[in-house]
């Protein structure tokens, strides 16, 4: 998978929030074999540069850091946070979140497009957290995004893919744009479903961090993502209404 000219072997991206401890986070990252870890500036450490301890732990994981603007409710706030993230993590990558509704935490797609355009013009490589809406996706691409991160379901809800049809349509319309399903994945089976649809990768956090055994769950998701991708590439059969025996019936004796 290639995200902004970076070739990645793993199609799983992992969030770094809400783990029982940094040690468990580090073990989970290893077990997931992920190469990209997202980190929030606001949620975890406030706006001050006082989260240095935690951020150096993240840097020490030896993976690529994808800072995010989680918790931002306006384009302006998200742009400011993105710039701060670039200074702290020395990366042009930014996972752009502009939250539009406090209850569902769904993206404010208008603010998202606005912030994406401003950041892309400023040299950022933007990973926009968006809905599965085709028109919004198109605007994000026009704004300069080269990756799309449609949601599966609201953040932290663990509900899986709320709109498989929408994600399929997105895939069909933008066959060459990397699609990462971000948010809503609760179980490994959800990740398999997403990957079987043909999306390029999956980003998740709560499903691993809040599991009883986050390290084991990280391993389970790694295998789920691989299985889903392999299933997609192997071109699955289409469901049929009529049962088809896998061994020929001709010539076998009918015992009534």
């Amino acid at each position: 998978m290639k995200l902004y000219d970076v070739e990645l072997a793993s199609r799983l991206l992992l969030g770094s929030a809400r783990y029982p401890s940094p040690a468990i986070l580090a073990d989970a990252v290893r077990a997931s074999a992920t190469e990209v870890v997202t980190v929030s500036l606001r949620r975890e450490a406030g706006t001050q540069r006082s989260g240095q301890d935690f951020w150096s732990l993240i840097r020490g994981l030896g993976v690529r850091v994808l800072p995010n603007t989680a918790g931002c409710h306006s384009a302006k706030e998200a742009v400011t946070t993105a710039k701060m993230a670039r200074d702290i993590f020395h990366t042009a990558w930014i996972k752009l979140e502009v939250i539009g509704d406090a209850d569902t935490l769904q993206p404010d797609v208008f603010g998202l497009v606005e912030a994406a355009a401003e950041l892309a013009a400023d040299g950022f490589e933007v990973f926009p957290y968006t809905t599965e809406d085709l028109v919004v996706a198109d605007r994000l691409l026009q704004a300069g995004c080269r990756v799309l991160m449609p949601w599966g379901a609201p953040i932290g809800s663990g509900r899986g893919l709320n709109n498989g049809f929408g994600l399929r349509a997105l895939r069909a319309h933008f066959p060459d744009v990397p699609l990462i399903v971000d948010a809503g994945i609760g179980r490994p089976s959800h990740a398999v479903q997403a990957m079987e649809l043909g999306v390029d990768g999956v980003l998740l956090n709560t499903a691993v961090a809040m599991a009883g055994d986050p390290v084991a769950m990280a391993g389970a998701f790694a295998r789920a993502v691989e299985a889903g991708r392999a299933g997609f590439e192997a071109q699955p059969m289409e469901p049929r209404d009529l049962a088809v025996p896998s061994t020929p019936v001709a010539g076998t004796a009918w015992l009534a």
Binding site: P20, S21, E44, A45, G46, Q48, S50, G51
Partner: protein
């Protein structure tokens, strides 16, 4: 044996009790003029080893279980009335999950919740009751321990910046918390925030935890209508004042627990930065004549007794105590 303890926070004081009890001549050196700069000063003071199982490593419950009896022996303000855990009906899944990860509780219904805490009657349909847990007021417990130590002949020197190399003692026990980062490099700060309110309209007799998918809250009664509200946990070593966001999260959730909190007076907004190792578990380790006790994280009152005993065993190997964990 003469022992110098650096730091009169929870780790230093409890360690002094254990060492003085084994016959050592103990002196405590504290940088601050009193206990008010200690993390423990803004702590909840919950002795909740089983509730903590929901998020902590299993060792926390094992090491923390004897803490209730330890505090009962050393501080008569220790109250063992259990912990009540409740959640809004729409978040029932949180309660089920909490129950799967913890033990030593009884699932209870609305009627029992009302019997335990009449103020909460009719507000919650289901909860968990952890009858063996206890709580105390850190701002009474720390001075009480200090007074007890002084009476036993332990010297506590406040307002003295310690230079370990120049302390005239056989052994040093370094209990400086985050200040020990100069030698214990993988220590980090984890910020906690709390609000103290007074509401004569609410009576609670035990700590109550309200589970919520986003913001967990605990309320610890301090008596006389005073309550400590806490719950935020941030990966930050900033001592800056509490943010509006954190205050809103805590106060909103308190209001959800009981609407009368809306009329409570805010007495204090407090911040503490707890020392933690990467696994969030405490450690006792020895380097030369110095023993380090650190990384109590959010479990100061709960784990200090077991860790102090572990430190004491390093110094006095021939005393017999129940074995504790991590010695690195």
């Amino acid at each position: 044996m003469r022992i110098g303890i650096l730091g009169a926070g929870i780790a230093g004081l409890v360690t002094a009790v254990e060492l003085a009890g084994r016959g050592a001549r103990v002196e405590i050196i504290e940088r601050a003029p009193d206990h008010a700069e200690a993390c423990a000063w803004v702590a909840g003071g919950m002795l909740a080893p089983w509730c903590e199982q929901a998020t902590a490593e299993p060792q926390v419950a094992t090491l923390g279980a004897p803490a209730v009896a330890w505090w009962q022996r050393h501080f008569d303000g220790t109250v063992q009335r259990g912990t009540l855990v409740v959640t809004a009906t729409r978040d029932a899944g949180e309660l089920a999950l909490f129950g799967r990860r913890t033990e030593r509780f009884e699932p209870i219904d609305a009627e029992r919740i009302g019997a335990l805490e009449p103020e909460l009657a009719g507000r919650f349909r289901q909860g968990l009751f952890f009858p063996d847990e206890a709580h105390l007021d850190p701002r009474r417990a720390l001075p009480a321990l200090a007074a007890q130590l002084t009476a036993a002949g332990v010297t506590i020197r406040y307002g003295v910046d310690a230079d370990a190399a120049r302390i005239d003692a056989d052994r040093i026990v370094d209990c400086r918390g985050l200040a020990a980062r100069d030698t214990l490099e993988d220590l980090r700060g984890v910020r906690g925030e709390m609000i103290v309110v007074r509401s004569p309209d609410i009576q609670l007799s035990r700590p109550v935890r309200l589970l919520h998918p986003r913001f967990g809250l605990y309320v610890v009664p301090r008596g006389d209508g005073v309550f400590m509200l806490g719950g935020t946990l941030l990966e930050s070593s900033s001592h800056d004042p509490m943010t509006v966001r954190s205050a809103m999260d805590v106060l909103n959730t308190a209001y959800a627990l009981h609407p009368a909190f809306a009329e409570a007076e805010i007495l204090e907004l407090g911040v503490g930065v707890r020392p933690a190792f990467p696994d969030n578990l405490p450690r006792v380790l020895r380097r030369g004549r110095t023993v380090y006790l650190n990384g109590l994280y959010r479990h100061g009152f709960l784990l200090a007794p077991a860790m102090a005993q572990q430190a004491a065993r390093l110094i006095f190997p021939h005393t017999t105590e129940t074995p504790a964990c991590t010695s690195a």
